[in-house]
Subunit: 365 residues, 2 copies
Amino acid sequence: MTGPTHADQTYVRSYNEALVLALARTTPTLDRTSVADATGLTPQAVSKVLGRLIEHGLVEVAGVRRQGVGKPSSVYRLVVTSRYAIGAHVARRSLRLVLTDLAGEVRHSAVTPLPDDFTPEDLLSRLSTGIAAITASHPETEGRLTGVGIGMVGPLDHADGTVRDAHRLRHWHDIPLRALATETLGLPVHLDKDVTAGVTAEAWRRRGAFHEAALIMVESGIGAGLWLGGRPHRGAHTNAGEFGHTVVQFGGPPCVCGRRGCLEIVHDRAVEAGDLDLAARVLATGVVNLLQTIDVDHVVLAGADLIRHAEVYRNAVRDAIRTDVRRADWLTVDVTLSSMGADVIAAGAAMQMLNTRYGMPVRAG
Amino acid sequence: MTGPTHADQTYVRSYNEALVLALARTTPTLDRTSVADATGLTPQAVSKVLGRLIEHGLVEVAGVRRQGVGKPSSVYRLVVTSRYAIGAHVARRSLRLVLTDLAGEVRHSAVTPLPDDFTPEDLLSRLSTGIAAITASHPETEGRLTGVGIGMVGPLDHADGTVRDAHRLRHWHDIPLRALATETLGLPVHLDKDVTAGVTAEAWRRRGAFHEAALIMVESGIGAGLWLGGRPHRGAHTNAGEFGHTVVQFGGPPCVCGRRGCLEIVHDRAVEAGDLDLAARVLATGVVNLLQTIDVDHVVLAGADLIRHAEVYRNAVRDAIRTDVRRADWLTVDVTLSSMGADVIAAGAAMQMLNTRYGMPVRAG
DNA sequence: ACGACTATAGCAACGCCGTTGCGTAATACC
DNA sequence: GGTATTACGCAACGGCGTTGCTATAGTCGT
C-alpha cells in the first residue's frame, strides 16, 4: 500500500496483542499456559500482554481453574461488549446495517430499501439515520463504537476509499465515499468490496483454520471474496474476485462485460431456461477452476440467489470437486454455506473495521 | 505453515535487515539518508543495520559522495559475491543447474539430459555431480554457498519437501526429495513448484514494483506461478497455479486431467491444428480469466513453447487485455517476457534459497 | 491436621531493538 | 579563514520479550 516500512517495538507489541486477541475471540476461555503454548510466547510475556489488554478493557478475569495439583491458574476471557462496530452492506436496491460486538456476533440487523439509481447523498443520509437509530436503541455502545465498515459492489479502490464505477449505479463514478462517510458520520470508515468483506466475516471468527479460502457469492452477479495467506486478497486494483466474468465457454453467448461465454452469462442463461441443475454445474465448474488456480481449502457459499437453492449448489460443487478432476486424497476442500446468512457482507464489513484496530498490524511479513 | 508464532526483537532485526538488503539488491548504491527515507528507519538505526550487514560481509563501503554543502555521505553497496546459491530446474527430460550471486545474477548455467522415467536416485546423482562441477570451476564460492533450490513439476508439498506425484514421472510418488537432497548434498535445500520458483526470480530482482504478479509458463503443459501481496502464493496444498486445467470451453474436448475443455487441451489442439493465432488467443483468454480472478498488474510470459513464438503470444495477451473486457484506464497491466530466458526457473529456485536466509522473515503480517 | 510437593503468578534484572540528544567531522560558501 | 550546512556516531533512553528467582495456593500423602 504505502510501500515498505520498518519494524519496531510498537509493531512487536501490537502483533502479539492481536495474536492473543485472535485467540480470545475463538476460544471461550484462556489461561496463561495455553496462550503461551499457542503463541510461542513465554508465560511471563503472556502475563504482560494480558495485562495490557485488561487495562484497555478488552479482556477480563473470569475466575480460576483447578486442574489438579499446583496453584490454580487464572482464567481470562474476551469482553465481547467492550467494543462494537457497525457494518453496512450497500447493494443495488437495499442497505443492510448490522451492529456487531468484538467477537463478531451480530447484535442488531436492519434492512432499508434504497431508491433506484440512488445518489451518494441518498446513501449518506440513510447511513446517518440508520446508524443513529441503532445507537439510540443500543445505549451500551456509547463510546465503544470502533467505526463503520462498508461493503459495496465494485469496482472501487480500497486503498484510497473511492468508488470508481459501481456496477449499474449511474451516480457512482469516482466518489470518495470513505472520506464523505467519515465526515458525515464522525466515525472511522472502512470501505471494501462486498465479497471481500464477506470472506473476512468467516475468517474473523475462525482464525487459524481459515488460511486459504474463497467466498462465492451469487446475488445479481457472481463474485468471489478471496482470503489468501491468512489475509484478504484484493489484487493490484481492488479488482480481484471478478469471478463471474471468467470465460468458461470459449465463444459462448455474449456477456454484458464485453466478453463471450462468461461464467455469469452461461449460469444465468441456464437459470432463465429453468435448468437449475445445469446452472449449479456451471457454477461448480467455475469453483473448480478457482481451486485449480489458487488452491483454497475452504469454499463458503453465499448470496441470496444461491442460498435460495443452497443444497442444489452445494451438492453440485461437492460433486464437481470430487469427480471433475482426478483429485488425490490430499486435496481436501471444505465446502460450507455461510454461517451468517444474509448478514454476512454487513457483518464482515463491521469486522474489517474491528480488524483495522484489533487485528494483525499491516505490513511486515 | 507452522501456525501462528509470536514476534520478538529478533524478528525486528531480521525484518529490517531484509528490508535494507532488498534495497541494496535493487539499487546500485546506498547512502544512509536514502535508506532512511525508503524504510522509515532513523538514520541512526540505518547505521546500526548497515554495520551488522558489513560485519557479515553482505555490504561494503564504496566510497563517499559529495552532494553539495556539508560532510559527504558514505556510499554503500551490496557485495554480490559474498553469497551464492545453486538453483536446479528439474523438467521431464532435463536438469538445468545455475549458479547465482546474491543479486540473483546468473554466473553459470548448464543443462544435462535426464533419462526417460528417471528415478530419484538418478536425479540425486546428477545433482551431486553437476553441483560438484560448478563449485570446482567456481572456487570463489567456497564457503559462500547458501544452499540449493529445486524447482520441479508438481504436485508436491512445499511445506514438508515431498514430491507427491510428479506429473508423468512414474517413480515419483511421495518422495521426500528435500530431505534426500539435503543429506546427499550436505547443503540446505529448498523445494518448490517450478512456476513458483520462476515468479520468485522476477520478484527477487524487482522488489517493490512487483507486488501482484503472475508468471505464465507454457512448456509441456501450462502453469502459472503466483506472487500475491508481495510473496509467493502456493495455496493450501502447494497446488495453486494449475492454470492449464481450468475449463475455458464447457463440454469441450476431454483433457488428460479428467475434465473437459481445459485451457491446456484446447490450446494444444489449436497448436496441433497449426493455428497458432487461435492457440495464443486461447491462452490470452485464460490470462484474462486470471486477471479477473486475482487482479495482478504484472504478467510475465515464459516457457520454451511460448518463447518460441514470443511475439505472437505477447500480442495476443496484450490485445485480449485491452479489448476483451471493457477495461477502464485504471486497470493497468504490464505484460513482459521473462528477462531470464530459459534460466528463469532454475535461477528462481536459487533465489528462493537465498530468500530463506536473506529475505523477509516468514510469518507476522 | 500438617508437611511435602507442584504448578502458577509476578517482581526484578537483563539483553537487544530502534530512538533521541548531542558532540564531532568534513565539506561548500563567503 | 570563519561560518553555515550536512553527515556521522557515541551514549543514554524507553520499551519489548526473556530469564532467574521468590511467593502463592492448591493437591496429596501420612
